[in-house]
Subunit: 128 residues, 2 copies
DNA sequence: GTAATCAGTATAACAGAGTATACCAACTAT
DNA sequence: ATAGTTGGTATACTCTGTTATACTGATTAC
């Protein structure tokens, strides 16, 4: 009731709802860009030095040629990666990360960190 | 220490494929756990102090009652959140984050940071 | 001649994530 | 009476991410 309303106002004063809405938006934007199962692993792989299609493919467990092909095309269109054809015989194709792409570095590092801790947590949990 | 770790990682990237596979695994594990459009926004909302169903719903643009209901149930089953029924009249239901849930904090912060930068990038890009 | 590698494309089909809409039962406020 | 809140569930549907499988054309190796 009125108490609740008063508490709501207090909350607003403390945590600034405008800021909060902004942050939810930012979070959702990011999720939109890197959403899906494969974007981040692909970015990670390329940033780790894999340049060739089959190398990237092999470095990501479970991915199919089709998904890799599609994601690479999409990421190239969005300027996340650069695709260069080297006219050797046979032609070689190299994928490299743009600086923009590298801006995901911190997110990827945090997620790797979390994944490792998660594994430890599961190992050290005796029950289940 | 952190510089050393980073250098270690860089070395590992170049010379130790086992390390790399481990990290891809960790990354994919994390993606699996927080996958989907709604998990992180929900976690973020609850960690920001929203406890009631409708409050959480209102704090996340675009989410439907159905998705929120499903995700909350799932997250409760996976011990990411706690659901407590308070026997007032009418009953109130409160959702709170477990410590486990709070371990996503750094990922969420990084993603919010990225989202904000992304927005600025788009604003400062004259073309398009 | 057979197999393998490279960099993919084509086709079809599926599962489940996500959407849309309506509804419930209890209560409050006007 | 009427509209609104709370905490959801039910039903039906769409959509697209994802998988599976096969195939191409050029080259190298055995």
């Amino acid at each position: 009731m009125q108490d609740e309303k008063r508490q709501e106002m207090a909350k607003g004063v403390l945590s600034n709802p405008r800021n909060q809405r902004q942050e939810v938006q930012a979070l959702q934007d990011t999720i939109y860009v890197i959403g899906g199962k494969w974007r981040l692993p692909i970015i990670n792989s390329i940033c780790n030095g894999n340049k060739r299609f089959r190398d990237i493919e092999r470095s990501i467990p479970g991915i199919t040629t089709r998904m890799l092909s599609r994601e690479l095309k999409d990421m190239e269109a969005n300027q996340l990666i650069r695709r260069t054809v080297i006219p050797t015989i046979p032609v070689a194709v190299e994928y490299t990360a743009t600086e923009y792409c590298q801006s995901f570095g911190d997110i990827i590092l945090e997620m790797i960190k979390w994944g490792k801790q998660h594994k430890e947590r599961i190992i050290h949990t005796t029950d289940q």
